[in-house]
Symmetry: C2
Subunit: 563 residues, 2 copies
């Protein structure tokens, strides 16, 4: 398809076929609007990786076109990539006040406070470019200041919902149903909509229902309450503050991210606490247990978080005492399940009462279920539909809802990251693949951990390592030292001394043969040692450790091969 | 407490505070009845471990007392430990026909077919010992031939439920409610009851309801059906066979464990198929798609299972074709969730329709929910209650149900593996700790992988490995070769050549200093190299690879330290 004609090009650099690292592009002629810049936490097959961000090669290739990064809300999977992206792509950033406050704090931590201009926007803002105009509408999500984005183009309006549900009794401001209806009435060319909960029937539970459960629990509890939730869920925190106020409990906060959000939330007016209600952690013992609420991180069983340490008995200031009630106002993110339940079990063992799980309305998702999604589709009534923000099956389910609503099947595009679609008022077609992928961040390294490194880490974790070293004199073809065999993560050495000694004998035999043959190719040396040891270890242990032969050469220009 | 008095001693070697490796002991004077001998699949923190079995030190110490291992049913977490346990403890094994058939097949695979006598029992069997008499009652579970066990002792009857639910419209034989009521009426001293689903409200769905869903799906499907479930769920397989018969579909079976269960199930009459209904996999293309059912393993997304390979497009004989419907008649076991969803996503991408998840009644648990558990408690009406088979929180929930039923709180014992309780008709008290724990099986090694090996594997998987080798002449204190640095799983070597060269320079400097000082303690050599390299790598990469310094000595009696 010829991109110079009047088409809007739509694509994702992250967020499709996955939950996380959301980053979408809406491009018209010389202007690119980027929506979000998220990160993803690594899955099990990425050992040692700290986080994953989108590959932005395409945006760097089109640097001059990028007009800005427009943030829908302040969750990590939407803003967490910024510290990495902004190092290479200095463009203005737009977001609502809470989003910008969180970004500011994040950039400060990375020493990047002045790298770009951060622009606060709200539902009345309009950002005008040559051909594109970006405006915003309020949605409900599990963090305040969540926005949907409307991009007016010469071909029609593109709507990106951000993350949303319809909460008809929200803890904060309501969704802007009117604006969405107006957009739909005016005509929307394409809708990009959140698919996270497209597998769930019904309508997502209101945050107020959670507030009612919190109130009831606070009414019943006779001891201290430890309340764990996502730090970013400011509404939840505000509801805990309100219940604490009602039942005359002081509030103490533990966990760095929780403290930060309480600070920002109060600064921006999202968390309202009477003077003197918040107390320092070291003061909690000055109040009777039924007058204390402790709000803490660790609802995902994160090994270093406050609640996990309290459960382990390794928290410096807080120990579980009889009568404590711990409330998990959260649901475990897949991958965290084992850790969450381990923490719950430990809390029960310590004698706490623990409230968790789905029997009580103690948590709700920020993402709309099938009825929410259908309501959005009904309001926006788009010509073209692109389900976003979800694993492939979620995109499929969402696309079926769109069909039920009446979107023409051929106007629905289920994309992968890097796929592009060209839409105009007349037609829509799939376009070329653009560069996309996952950049792995490990420590301070960005993108230096690739498939070989990951494969080696996985191998090493499966059966450990055997290092075999020999020192040889290649002038006189003599074995000078070794073979020495060292193992790690393979077997407990004291119990397998004999096995390793036998492996040394095998290596010695191979080495002496090679010296006798005056073999000079190191690759052959290494292969012959591997060919002897690999079956030996497998036969004796049914394990396949990584075997690392190292040949050190003495008395001649050093030729020991490194890899 | 004096064990020579008339008490029944009850304990678990596995199954408490965990799901898996069930093994319980009921002991009276010189007789021990062991119930089950299971395995557990390793959790994330046990990299490379194949499976986990109970530590049976206590049973070996009391070898002469052990009268037999009584199996409640044929699931891995109840019989999977036998090949390991029976090598050290040759005692008779008792179980229902299907259980014994599965054990027989398992022991054959381990070359242990004649190691002990396998005894078939049923609900009419009574195994009489000097003081104890063991009898059985039918329960419902997700595998046929599941039995509860009653052990008559001079102090009263101990009832062990095995795994159970009450299925009032089962696919096989009904639970023996009458026998349970009779036991209760006669008086039960202590009940040990399955806690797996004690967190779930209501009553567990009947297997027949799943049969109805299967029938409806088969009625609707116009193409091939690929049906994935647990191989051991013989009832489910029989229901698939029945639906296939009704809609004139031939049945092909893929996966070694599935083939085995079809064979055993037909031999014992649990799976009844008309002649000619089962077809070989290579014949499926000879039938129209709507006449073919493929039953396969892989419902847990296991990397090597049939369905996973079909989803990947790497199965030799079966490829997804348009119109295929894949049914996941299972729910993901925690830990498998990511793999299961990956498989579902790949199947959707291949163009299959996929039926999964909880919206349809396409799977049911074999474990009773709260109402089932309360019914058992009502029927058995025990004096003492010990919740078994579950994580700690499940045991807590189950104990609360028992309290609701009217069991005295002080008569309820929430135990850990290795805790013992002494019960008599007069009283019950906690006793001494007995040896217990987890034995890790890795390859052919049983118990040789311990904490040090696991710690090293975890470290290696986090940031990889740096091997530093130097060869030195300790007569003349000269560096003969190296330092050579080799890394694995750390950074992609080509991109970090400079970093590794710099580390070599640092090591060279340290080595030359040590030689100059004529330092002879290898431990100091290694520490000085570590002290130089550890901060260097962390500062440059924010990673902490395992660093392995190796010093090779030439020209003197070899002293290179191995560890």
């Amino acid at each position: 398809m010829n991109a110079t004609k009047s088409f809007v090009k739509i694509y994702a650099l992250g967020g499709l076929g996955e939950i996380g690292k959301n980053m979408y592009g809406i491009e018209y002629k010389n202007e690119i609007v980027v929506v979000d810049s998220g990160l993803k936490f690594p899955e099990d097959h990425l050992p040692g990786v700290d986080l994953v961000i989108p590959d932005i090669t395409y945006l760097l290739q089109n640097k001059k076109k990028v007009r800005g990064i427009f943030l829908t809300h302040g969750h990590e999977d939407h803003i967490g990539g910024l510290p990495y992206v902004l190092r290479e792509l200095q463009v203005p950033v737009y977001g609502a006040p809470l989003t910008i406050a969180l970004v500011k704090s994040k950039l400060q931590e990375h020493g990047l406070q002045n790298v770009v201009k951060l622009n606060e926007v709200n539902e009345h803002s309009r950002i005008r470019m040559k051909n594109l105009t970006v405006s915003f509408f309020r949605t409900n999500h599990s963090i305040p200041d969540s926005l949907g984005i409307a991009i007016d183009t010469p071909e029609g309006t593109i709507v990106h919902t951000g993350d949303f549900k319809f909460d008809l009794t929200p803890a904060g401001k309501p969704s802007d149903l009117t604006r969405m209806a107006q957009l739909g009435e005016k005509g929307v060319l394409a809708l990009l909509s959140d698919s996270t909960n497209s597998e769930k029937e019904g309508m997502t539970l209101s945050e107020k229902a959670v507030g009612d459960t919190i109130d009831e629990l606070f009414y019943r509890c006779k001891g201290r309450i430890l309340f764990a939730t996502f730090a970013s869920n400011v509404y939840r925190l505000q509801q805990v503050v309100e219940a604490s106020k009602k039942y005359n409990r002081k509030v103490a906060v533990i966990g760095r991210s929780m403290e930060k959000v309480f600070q920002i939330g109060q600064d921006l007016g999202y968390i309202q606490m009477p003077e003197g209600m918040m107390i320092e952690l070291d003061k909690i013992d000055q109040y009777p247990p039924n007058k204390v609420t402790i709000v803490c991180t660790g609802s995902q069983g994160e090994p270093l978080a406050a609640l996990t340490r309290i459960a382990n008995g390794s928290h410096r200031q807080v120990q579980i005492i009889p009568g404590d009630t711990v409330i998990f106002s959260s649901s475990p993110i897949p991958g965290n399940t084992q850790n969450v339940y381990k923490t719950i079990d430990q809390l029960f063992r310590s004698g706490a009462e623990v409230i968790y799980g789905s029997l009580l309305d103690i948590h709700t998702s920020g993402h709309g279920s099938q009825e929410d999604l259908k309501l959005m589709l009904n309001l926006i009534r788009p010509k073209y539909f692109i389900p976003i923000h979800g694993e492939y099956r979620m995109l499929v389910r969402h696309s079926r809802l769109a069909e039920e609503i009446g979107v023409d099947r051929k106007n629905i595009f289920i994309l992968d990251n890097g796929d592009s679609v060209y839409v105009s008022r007349k037609q829509a077609k799939r376009g070329e693949k653009i560069p996309s992928g996952s950049i792995l961040v490990d420590g301070s390294g960005i993108g230096d951990v690739g498939n070989i490194v990951l494969r080696d880490r996985t191998l090493l974790s499966e059966s450990g390592l055997i290092v075999v070293v020999v020192t040889v004199d290649m002038n006189n073809f003599q074995l000078l030292s070794g073979p020495d065999i060292i193992s790690r993560g393979f077997v407990y050495v004291r119990e397998s001394e004999a096995l390793l000694r036998e492996a040394e004998q095998i290596t010695r035999k191979v080495t002496l043969q090679l010296l006798k043959k005056k073999e000079k190719k190191w690759a052959d040396w290494k292969n012959q040692i591997l060919d002897a040891l690999t079956p030996f270890f497998y036969e004796r242990t049914e394990r396949s450790p990584m075997i690392l032969p190292i040949i050190m050469e003495v008395n001649r220009e050093r030729q020991a091969q490194k890899e």
